[in-house]
């Protein structure tokens, strides 16, 4: 844990990592400041409908079909995107780590059972399963988060299992067993800290993926209608793609930048956390 600061410092010195961090910081700032800058909320119909960007300085990115300010929608949308991304990645992480660690450490029948379950989830196309879940239980922020995490955890489970499987044969694990340490302590205190690097890297991709899935669901009209997300704008814009393309382009750019930021951070983390590449950075 003492290395955490060192890692962050190295991440900040990594050129693409720094760029990713700055981008992400800007997006977080947007989501935090949305309430102060736009106190009337993202739904207020404040201007004429379908105002193109640059026409009226009050609405630099224009207004949508309802006359809502697109800048305000982007700021509030950042909240939803980050929330869904982080919440569903967190759920996927917890489930994935528990399943993966138990399967890898205990092996045998437990491993077989858990891995077949993982297989079952992996054989169903992820996005289709999310659509089906949201379609059946209804679109709200918690159900969407659930639908995204339920399809994301198998990747983490497989990753953790492979690492645990390798580590449990190591001498330090054997000696822990000999001194009578409980299985739970061995798994969570000794083994898991040693396989955090790939998990952290995968998590950044998981967050990015969750943000995309949420936007895609909203784009298809399966977003939470009470929450302004970038996908909501995409869905509104899709219907007038030929006439008011900017309604689609603006949130799409925001999505691209967010996912880019997360991917850059993921790549940089991969470099930073890989001991063999220490010299390179």
């Amino acid at each position: 844990m003492t290395g955490t600061f060192a890692h962050i410092r190295r991440l900040a010195r990594h050129p693409s990592g720094l760029f990713g961090l700055l981008l992400l910081a800007a997006i977080i700032l947007m989501s935090v400041s949305a309430g102060w800058i736009f106190p009337e909320g993202p739904w207020a119909m404040v201007g004429p409908t379908r105002l193109h960007p640059g026409v009226d300085p009050r609405f630099p990115l224009g207004t949508d079909t309802y006359g809502r300010d697109i800048v305000s929608a982007i700021f509030y949308g950042a909240r939803v995107s980050l929330f869904v991304g982080i919440a569903s990645a967190a759920i996927a992480l917890i489930v994935g780590i528990v399943v993966g660690a138990i399967a890898g450490y205990f092996g045998g029948k437990v491993d077989d059972a858990l891995m077949r379950l993982t297989d079952a989830f992996q054989t169903i196309p992820n996005f289709l399963l999310s659509i089906a879940i949201v379609g059946i239980i209804g679109a709200s922020l918690p159900t969407i988060t659930f639908a995204i995490s339920i399809v994301a955890w198998p990747i983490i489970a497989r990753l953790v299992r492979a690492d645990v499987l390798r580590l449990r044969t190591y001498d330090f694990v054997q000696s822990c067993k000999i001194i009578g340490m409980s299985d739970m302590r061995i798994v969570f205190q000794q083994i898991l800290p040693n396989c955090m690097a790939p998990i952290i890297v995968t998590t950044s991709v998981l967050v990015a993926n969750a943000i995309i899935v949420e936007a895609s669901l909203a784009f298809l009209g399966l977003g939470d209608p009470n929450v302004m997300s970038w996908g909501t704008l995409l869905n509104v814009g899709r219907q007038q793609l030929r006439t008011e393309a900017y309604i689609t382009i603006v949130p799409a750019v925001a999505l691209v930048l967010t996912v880019l930021a997360l991917n850059l951070i993921g790549d940089a983390l991969n470099d930073v956390l890989n001991p063999r590449l220490k010299e390179r950075t």
Binding site: W43, Y66, A139, L222, N226, Q239
Partner: protein
């Protein structure tokens, strides 16, 4: 842009012709050649039909395709004025209990068999009264059909049924060949997808999910028709692709709003395209906001009227429907002539101050967070109009202190939530108002039609004995003047009670066609008729 492309193509063909590569006759140089018939009509449609027979399914694709193969007893001129089709004359008895149809002689089915009154009797008694979604109600009072000779059909009614006379067209009530259906399982009969009708077109090929190809029936009774040489309906799932097909000339016409309104308006502005909104009178529909009167807040009439005042229906008309229609003003649709009226019908103009006043008066002052109370709004997921309007309604109601949550669900779940489980407060949906108010409007207002479990019935749980009496009387009133008066009174009372606020009376789904296509919306039925008068310049 399309114009310059055409010029280029013409120029290109011209140079080919000059080079002797193409016969010179292929290069049209002036305006259209003298021609008033023929041609191939191509149109995209979605979804693909289950059957090619609208007697057993009332869904969109069947309603569009079936009238090309089958005829009805009557047709309707603009204004729903009946005109002859398979029936050449009809006579309604004084008491309204018998209707005698004189049938056309010399009509044959596509397989050569003669058409007789037996086909009519069989179709109404065995098919339309049993398997047709709306027919069950429309023909509830039809007890038997007598066939004194081959060309006379006598309908015997237990009560007068004025609405019936507006439902005898080829889309609503196609006449089926008794010799192919009798004694078979009607829903499973192979003729359902390989139609044998008396209509102007016969089926040449049907590739399921891909295309229906129709060619003229050479022995069609209306000599000289149909004018087209070939009629091709392609099934294309993506609306953007359908629009691109029209723009690029791969298809000739778009019927029944098969592309989004804003695309229709955009393309209609371009050279070489023509738009019309006539020819859809058989299917007037509206967007309406219904209150669940079992909710104690909504049971208060002042609250309902406040909500009506808070919503600018003109905003919805302009921004969701792109001006294609009229703002709602009555339970009836403006196309339901001659019964529609706004005279003496209360109106609720957009007025936020008035809405606030009414809500205060109703005893719901603003409380925490400036909100008075919370309501759930269920928009129908059918199409995009209800969902798009719900975002607007939520925002304006917030301005008068009503905290609205929008619940968006799958269509089947939506119907169950509202009409079976009744867990709703506000519900917003588009519905067909019917060729006659009896068929489409009564269901929302009759107390006897409060039937949990039946979708799009009286979901408000509205119960006004006066309204029940008026509607029940109007459904069997044969004197049109008296019926007009009954419906006028109904509209006044129902819009004062306000179990439902009509947001928008939707205009006929516009037909958009290349200017090469002629006579594509000839009567009240338009594209839901046979299109036998349509022709295309080639």
């Amino acid at each position: 842009m399309s114009k310059s492309f055409e010029m280029n193509r013409r120029g290109f063909l011209g140079s080919l012709a000059a080079a002797g590569l193409v016969p010179a006759g292929m290069v049209a140089s002036g305006p259209a050649l003298a021609q008033d018939a023929g041609g191939i009509l191509r149109t995209p449609f979605w979804p693909a039909p289950t059957y090619l027979n609208s007697a057993i399914s009332t869904s969109g694709p069947e309603s569009f395709l079936s009238p090309k193969f089958y005829d009805g007893l009557l047709g309707y001129e603009s204004g729903m004025v009946p005109k002859p089709s398979l029936a050449t004359a009809w006579e309604i008895s004084e008491d309204g209990l018998t209707v005698t149809f004189t049938l056309r002689e010399g009509v044959t089915w596509h397989d050569g068999e003669p058409f007789t009154s037996h086909d009519v009797a069989f179709t109404f008694m065995e098919v339309l009264k049993v398997h047709h979604g709306r027919g069950v109600n429309t023909f509830a009072n039809l007890t038997s059909v007598d066939t004194p000779d081959d060309y006379t059909a006598v309908f015997n009614l237990s009560k007068p049924s004025p609405a019936m006379m507006r439902a005898l067209d080829s889309r609503e009530c196609p006449i089926l060949p008794a010799h192919l259906y009798e004694g078979t399982d009607i829903m499973e009969n192979p003729v359902n997808t390989a139609p044998v009708g008396t209509g102007p077109f016969k089926l040449e090929s049907y590739e399921i999910g891909s295309a229906v190809v129709m060619v003229p029936y050479e022995d069609y009774w209306d000599e000289g028709y149909p004018l087209l040489d070939r009629f091709i309906v392609q099934f294309v799932p993506d609306p953007a692709t359908r629009a691109a097909m029209l723009e690029s000339g791969q298809t000739d016409a778009i019927f029944l709003g098969m592309i989004p309104t804003q695309e229709i308006l955009r393309i209609a502005e371009m050279d070489g395209f023509e738009m019309t909104t006539t020819g859809f009178e058989a299917m007037p529909s509206g967007l309406q906001l219904e209150f669940n009167l079992e909710n104690e807040i909504l049971a208060n009439k002042l609250v309902r009227q406040a909500i009506a005042h808070a919503i600018d229906t003109n905003w919805i008309l302009e921004n969701v429907f792109y001006g294609m229609g009229q703002t709602g003003a009555s339970p009836l649709h403006y196309d339901q002539r001659p019964f529609y009226t706004t005279e003496g019908v209360p109106s609720y103009p957009f007025d936020l101050a008035k809405a606030n006043e009414l809500l205060d008066e109703a005893g719901y002052p603003r409380g925490e967070g400036d909100m008075r109370f919370k309501l759930m709004l269920d928009p129908s997921p059918w199409g995009t109009e209800s969902i798009n309007s719900s975002a607007y309604i939520r925002e304006v109601l917030r301005q008068v202190g009503i905290d609205v949550e929008v619940r968006q669900q799958d269509f089947a779940v939506f119907v169950t939530t509202v009409w079976t489980e009744r867990k709703h407060d506000l519900v917003l949906y588009t519905a067909t108002m019917g060729v006659d108010p009896t068929i489409g409007v009564h269901r929302f207002y009759l107390s006897s039609n409060f039937q949990p479990g039946t979708g799009f019935s009286n979901g408000a749980h509205y119960d006004n004995p006066e309204v029940d009496e008026l509607l029940n009387a109007a459904s069997i009133e044969m004197d049109e003047e008296a019926r007009i008066a009954q419906y006028a009174e109904f509209q006044q009372i129902a819009y004062e009670d306000l179990p439902i606020v009509k947001m928008v009376d939707i205009a006929a789904a516009p037909t958009l066609a290349s200017t090469r296509v002629h006579d594509f919306a000839p009567d009240a039925l338009g594209a839901l008729g046979s299109l036998k008068q349509t022709w295309v310049e080639q």
